[in-house]
Symmetry: C2
Subunit: 491 residues, 2 copies
């Protein structure tokens, strides 16, 4: 066996162990008895310890040195690129710092939850400061002289920079606030009324999952507090949730997670349990979930079909026709919470977090000023005041668990989805005719071929450029949103 083969055998075991850690996470949110939490903490720590030891294993350096890269094909080179990256990252962070970060972020999550419960940002602030101090330390170790925030971003979106995102988001923000203002002044569509049996919701949601191409023979749909997708390759599971008065929450959570899951299921099987065998970045991942959910799932064509499915499942539910249904599904409402935001306003929530967390990491914003900064920015973008911390600075878990550099990938995913939607509709000219009868095969097949199948083969931006024929830009998303909501609200 060559050094490359040895390295890949070793890496394959690491990937298999990482899958196990993921499956434990799934179990924890769906099946685990509540009383098992303390033991599960130790189990997770043990498997994370094994994974860390493998990522910094000195044999990786030896193998990498011995490999003659000239003899590798593109996939082989890409494998090495991922292995080098993960090995370098794990090796750069001192073990003591990693341990302190693991401890503080585990504690911080509980402290954040309690502070949110008590509407008391001050109770969380000292812990958040500690998290930020340690994350900055980690960022400095990773950046090695470069930009701290860029080093963090690189964990979730390899190759992206804060400056580049700032430019992109800077172009998005004024257009989004303008569109938002216009919509707010227009006449609002009706609101969905009535109750929708939750087991009937689950039945229809499973059908929707299949409609969007989710392979149930290698997956499953369960209920959890927060919808998520978990796993790669042959075992990719999703969760959703139900709410008696809000069936769209269930259906669109499912379609969103199916987008993530189909990305993992759609990767070339040759990459199974290798570094190329998972989605290439959080942004590209989110582009799949978002295009499934929004550009396809919330389109006029598809909602027309969904209206019929809902009538079959629930009988007459008080909505007169497909057009009204379409307007209800895409209703723009005031609200404080990012995860409940509609397609139009969602990115404004993200942009706010991006600017604040970048300032926190850069040292220009202090934790003591964070709540005021949040509230000011919210007022500026949304036009009304935050009423309580749980609707503002305390609403997301991310910062408490040390996720800095993660938020912007949500909006980047929306931008990518906009680009992909344009290219898809150019290639599949009768797409709406198909969606009208609930047939997503051409759309999901196009995404599988042009995005999903490649796994980690290309850099994220390169992948989108290859798929769409041009470099990623916020323009298609803006034009899609302004055309869709302009029409919906007769602007």
């Amino acid at each position: 066996m060559s050094a490359f083969d040895d390295l890949m055998v070793f890496q394959r075991e690491t990937e298999a162990l990482a899958q196990i850690a993921g499956r434990l996470g799934w179990d924890q949110e769906t099946m685990m008895p509540r009383g098992a939490a303390a033991q599960r903490g130790e189990e997770m720590a043990a498997v994370e310890g094994v994974l860390h030891a493998r990522r910094v294993d000195p044999r990786i350096t030896d193998w990498l040195e011995m490999i003659d890269e000239g003899h590798l094909d593109d996939a082989g080179s890409a494998q090495l690129r991922h292995i080098r990256r993960s090995h370098a990252r794990a090796s750069k962070v001192p073990a003591a710092l990693a341990a302190r970060l693991a401890r503080i972020t585990s504690e911080a999550q509980g402290i954040w939850a309690e502070a949110r419960e008590n509407e008391d940002f001050a109770a969380f602030a000292p812990t958040l400061s500690e998290v930020i101090t340690l994350k900055r330390e980690e960022g400095m170790a990773l950046a090695a002289g470069g930009d701290i925030y860029d080093a963090m971003l690189d964990d979730y979106e390899p190759g992206a920079t804060g400056a580049e995102l700032e430019a992109m988001f800077g172009a998005l923000r004024p257009e989004l606030t303008r569109l938002r203002e216009a919509v707010r002044s227009a006449e609002a569509p009706p609101v969905l009324q009535g109750k929708f049996d939750e087991s009937a919701q689950m039945k229809l949601t499973r059908q929707l999952a299949k409609t969007f191409g989710y392979d149930m023979s290698m997956g499953r749909v369960d209920k959890a507090v927060h919808p998520f997708s978990s796993g790669s390759g042959l075992d990719v599971r999703i969760t959703t949730r139900t709410n008696e008065t809000d069936p769209f929450n269930c259906f669109y959570s499912t379609i969103h997670e199916v987008g993530h899951a189909c990305y993992e299921q759609g990767i070339d099987r040759a990459y199974l349990l290798t570094p190329l065998g998972a989605g290439v970045s959080m942004g590209v991942h989110e582009s799949q979930s978002r295009i499934y959910e929004n550009q396809l799932g919330r389109s006029r064509a598809f909602t027309g079909w969904l209206f019929g499915q809902m009538k079959d499942a629930f009988g007459d539910f008080g909505v007169a026709d497909e057009d009204t249904f379409y307007r209800i599904v895409n209703r723009v409402s005031d609200g404080y919470i990012r995860t409940e935001a509609d397609e139009l306003q969602y990115n404004l929530h993200v942009l706010l977090r991006f600017d604040l967390e970048r300032a926190l990491m850069g040292g220009e914003l202090q934790v003591d000023d964070l709540e005021a900064a949040w509230n000011d920015r919210f007022k500026a973008d949304f036009g009304y005041e935050v009423d309580k911390p749980s609707n503002g600075v305390l609403q997301d878990v991310h910062w408490s668990v040390g996720l800095f550099g993660y938020f912007p990938t949500y909006s980047l995913g929306n931008v990518y989805a906009g680009c992909l939607n344009d290219a898809l509709r150019k290639d599949v000219t009768d797409l709406d005719d198909q969606l009208t009868v609930g047939d997503t095969r051409a759309a999901t097949g196009w995404l599988r071929e042009n995005v999903q199948s490649h796994g980690g083969l290309y850099h994220p931006k390169e992948l989108i450029t290859r798929a769409t024929g041009s470099a990623p830009s916020e323009a298609p998303l803006l034009s899609y949103l302004s055309s869709k909501f302009g029409e919906l609200y007769s602007l």
Copy 2:
């Protein structure tokens, strides 16, 4: 930190990883999508590889040498005993042999299943021969000059020997065949008729699990093809199955698995995720499942209560009264299959396997003669001929996966259950009054205190001796069976 502390930290991680491997097994039988099997095989192999590497880790030898055992308490010494044993065992078997065994037993299971399907022992024989050759090789490595079968037995029942079991089982067999003959000539009780809604079975089975003290806040009950219990400490899950015409299969499978699960749940929390934090042997484990299932669950007192519960759950199901119900529950019927055997005949099935597998390991019996030897022995003990291999030599998966030395622990468990039942009834004199109203707390509390709580602290035989006041013997089981079935069948 002392060497002992270092060793225990290391060991604790190993135990946590072993729990993860167990949870994957549970997932595979209950939740895993069918199409994930291939990937799961690699995941399991990866985690087993990690566990093996930890068990043979040379640091263990160093730590063991550095520890001054004179300063340890009983629990500390017992921890070392378990660690030494597991380290020595893993180190004695050459890695190449372990790998060959893993491969052949994984293949053999499929070949066995196909041979059983086709009623063709000859198709399985060559593979079984290979398994036996490798197991003997492993046995020689483990025995280091001692008895091969004893070395295998030691994996499941530390300290037990083939000769000692032979003596015990030799005393059991004639009494069991005599009793069996007598029962066969007596008038048989009626058979249960009708259909029993399977979701109502699951509802009652969950209630039964709680009745026997299973803590559902740290466990769960799911359906699986084969009932089993899985996990230790704070996360112990069981499975059961349902059959529309045979609710007793569901209920007594559940009570049996609850016995196993309560053993794990009942271990002193100070031993959590340490070598002492799991049941001490398969025999002692089986003693708990069996005493829950039989001496308690199939007693006249408890079945009287269960009769009422079944009437509540299913309405009038055609059984006149408690006495008739008790006779139906304990009905002795002809049959070929060990796992379906009643309390009286079960051990005859096991004793047959013990003698045959010991002869196979000793080289006195060849695989080519195994089917005939099985059939002859079956005729001698049960009085009728085996009609097909799936009802005979091909019925159990054990040998195909290399489990030699495992079968006798089933009967040893029954012997231990007999001893414990005697001691329990001496200490809790009004036990039947309690069971009559479905109250198992005194019984399960006694077992928890005298057996379960100790985990791996004592040697198996020592544990039973401490709990009962005398060395284990087959006499109490025989006297219990002959009294129970003598009365039931008016012998």
